[in-house]
């Protein structure tokens, strides 16, 4: 474990840029911390922290000068690895001939700065979706294989976080090239740095950082420990997969549908949701056409349309599809839960529907564990 | 229609899928009501509004159950073929056919006399109950089919 002083932070960004990487990191814009290109530490949300609750997100400025005191915002890293819109191919028609070609430009080599433990898990989950099947997605593969990941351990739990109960955080356990832990106390401000890959080690070597001393390691460990203890929400995972599979007709679905607006915010904010649709269009001249892939949501009517109508007409069946997929059938499909406990779907739900609360209510309605442990 | 009175109907009755599994005694009671009847192609096995005197167990051939609608002519509701049962209006008052039965090809049926059947069922309630259960299955099948057709599942 090494130490990067706060004053040296730009050397990290410079090193990444010298390797031809576009650094994407946390940026405060429009009252939210999102993930956007950053050039120097000055672009980061210095001193900003969020306050989150179901249906609520506010930023507050503090004097501690921390770079990573915020928790998950509306953006997720899928924005860069699996962009919201992408041209899949272009077709051209000429004299009765039809040809197809994929876009020729190569995406930037990203360095993703500030990836949280839950988000590392989310990326690993999307890797399974896009790379592990019989037909891997080449566009995702290029972006993913070229990405350099700098994780940042959480020193604070967000108001809607529940990663501890999903066993996905708050400490990064792997899947990063470098992992940082921010410590700002007793007049010092530094980061402990660990490499997770050979790529990460090489960058560390270039930075010529000193080894961390025992007190610094201890301070970093304590910071992450504190985050784990702050977590207010818990997902009742015991037996949840089976319970959801067995209760497609639970009265709970009707109950939650009375509040759900089917706005699709939860699916857009979710770091693992991967559904998409395609848009076909032709140029006015009629000579070229293209197909774009855009993020889609199982909360729309069109999503399940087959000739004659939509399969999931009712909000209850759409919420059921989303939650059952996320917490139950995801296991059948990809070998893990599709939820990483980041809490985004709770924060960004305009009516404050809380997936952990819904899970508890389902558990309680169908003989599962109760919150009081009775 | 040329019913041929036949006391030796039992083996034929036993072969018909509708009566499979009945006891010797029950078959013999039914044989007392049974006669073979045959129809040429385009003959009518029954006509809507006419007294429903018989239940037809189809032995050979195919009968269309139709209804005449002034604008559309003869509308086929369904067809009943070999092994099928045609008609149950003889079972409930006023004992009149609701549909026409049009032989689509040369057809042979085992015609069971409705009045005799009702008497046999009254005399032997076990036979009556057993037969009613079987007819109920036929009603159920017809109702199911009618609802299914109503769904018009292949419609564009």
């Amino acid at each position: 474990m090494h130490v990067l002083e706060r004053a040296q932070f730009d050397t990290l960004l410079e090193a990444l840029q010298q390797h031809g990487r576009q650094v994407i990191g946390p940026v405060r814009r429009d009252g939210v911390i999102g993930y956007e290109p950053v050039r120097s530490a000055g672009d980061l949300p210095v001193g900003w922290a969020d306050e989150q609750e179901a249906g609520r997100y506010r930023l507050h400025h503090k004097d501690h000068g921390r770079l990573f005191d915020y928790t998950a915002g509306f953006h997720t890293w899928k924005r860069y690895l699996y962009p919201p819109t992408a041209v899949l191919w272009q077709a051209s028609r000429d004299n009765g001939r039809l040809s197809f070609e994929t876009p020729s430009e190569t995406p930037p080599k990203f360095a993703l700065l500030g990836v949280r433990a839950c988000e590392l898990h989310a990326i690993a989950i999307q890797d399974k979706v896009f790379l592990d099947g019989a037909h891997p997605d080449p566009a995702y593969a290029v972006r993913r294989n070229n990405a350099f990941i700098i994780a940042v351990n959480c020193g604070r739990a967000g108001g809607t976080c529940f990663c501890a109960s999903m066993e996905t955080g708050p400490r990064a356990q792997g899947g990063y090239d470098l992992a940082l832990t921010e410590v700002a106390e007793d007049g010092r401000h530094y980061f402990t740095v660990e490499a997770g890959t050979k790529k990460g080690e090489r960058l560390l070597d270039e930075l010529e950082l000193r080894e961390a001393i025992e007190a610094e390691r201890a301070a970093a460990a304590a910071a992450v420990e504190a985050a784990a203890n702050q977590m207010g929400r818990q997902m009742p995972v015991d037996g949840l997969r089976e319970l959801l599979a067995a209760n497609p007709e639970s009265p709970r679905w009707e109950a939650v549908a009375k509040r759900c607006l089917c706005c699709a915010n939860c699916t857009m904010a979710c770091p693992t949701c991967f559904c998409s649709t395609v848009h076909d269009s032709a140029a006015m001249t009629g000579e070229t056409a293209k197909r774009e892939r855009v993020w889609d949501s199982c909360f729309t009517m069109e999503f399940s349309y087959v000739h004659g109508g939509s399969v999931r007409k009712d909000a209850s069946s759409r919420y059921r599809q989303w939650m059952t997929h996320k917490l139950s059938s995801w296991h059948d499909q990809f070998g893990s839960s599709g939820c990483v406990g980041c809490g985004r779907c709770i924060t960004w739900c305009p009516v404050g529907i809380d997936i952990t609360e819904e899970a508890w209510l389902l558990q309680e309605a169908h003989g599962g564990p109760t919150r009081t442990g009775e | 229609m040329t019913p041929t009175g036949n006391e030796a109907m039992e083996p034929m009755l036993e072969q018909h899928p509708f009566l499979r599994g009945l006891s010797k005694e029950q078959l013999s009671a039914l044989a007392q009501c049974a006669a073979l009847s045959s129809y040429d192609m385009d003959d009518y096995v029954m006509r809507a509004g006419q007294p429903a005197n018989h239940c037809h167990l189809i032995h050979k051939g195919q009968v269309a159950v139709t209804v005449h609608e002034p604008r559309r002519g003869h509308v086929v509701v369904q067809t009943v073929g070999e092994g099928g049962v045609l008609g149950w209006s003889w079972l409930v008052p006023p004992y009149r056919w609701c549909f026409d039965g049009h032989a689509l090809q040369a057809t042979e049926t085992i015609a069971l006399d409705g009045e005799k059947l009702r008497a046999a069922f009254d005399a032997d309630c076990c036979l009556g109950y057993e037969m009613l259960k079987r007819f109920t299955q036929v009603f159920g099948e017809r109702l199911h089919a009618a609802r299914f057709q109503l769904l018009d599942v292949y419609k564009n």
Partner: protein, 297 residues
Amino acid sequence: MPRNATKPEVSSPASADGGAASMAEPMLPAPYRIQRQRREAHDTFTLDLAAADGGRPPRFAPGQFNMLYLFGVGEVAISISGNPGTPETLQHTTRAVGSVTKAMEKLRAGDVIGVRGPFGTHWPTDHARGKDVVFVAGGIGLAPLRPAMYEILRNRAHYNKAVLLYGTRTPSDILFKRELKQWGGNFDVDVYVTVDRATGTWRGNVGVVTQLIRRSPFDPGNCVAMICGPEVMMKYAVDEFRRRGVDSQDIFLSMERNMKCAIGFCGHCQWGPNFVCKDGPVFRHTDIEHLLNVWEI
């Protein structure tokens, strides 16, 4: 005996390559030229396609589907309806019901469309060897079953009885009339056709296709049922097979859901834990029985 409807041995062109660097583009269509457009019924047509570059279309297994792309209009999932024994011509039989298929209906010989595939699971023609084979088709559902019929006729001696129960809306909706006659005549197939509504000079069966199951000649203890048609018709057909004592393991049906990618990325075709595009479209009844009666799943 396979537990699931089996994945085909044949591979689609998209899965041929391994590493990320040489990864094929599974979303990229290949141009195919229409050799012939044939009208099957007032709203149904068959396209005979050949690869525009003169190459051989990838092999397919009966029951699999392709994604057909019409320039600038869009893409639809359509089952392959042709003969797997003559793969040089790719056949698709389509009903013109949506914006893409209605536009495709206007295509003629010489026009070019995009094709990618084949995708999905196939009918259990191996599992059916040594048994009676009962096909139940409703409406356009005969098209995805036709390749399986071809395959069975090509190896007729390996199967016992072959029975086709086929229901359509009216007599004029009956597809592949010439072949139905041939199958019944030369190939020792028991073909029963029924219509929901009799019109014109029709003197055949009138009634729903599921009623044919009750009295058709097959051995419930040694048969395989392959069902394709509207979902409600398939459910009733399953009920009839179960009533006759056919094991759930021996009943297969082909499902339809919204599909955009055909390879499990887009999420649209999810049906319980299944992706209909890759875990289906052909499912073994045992595996999906619990989903058939759940509303809006």
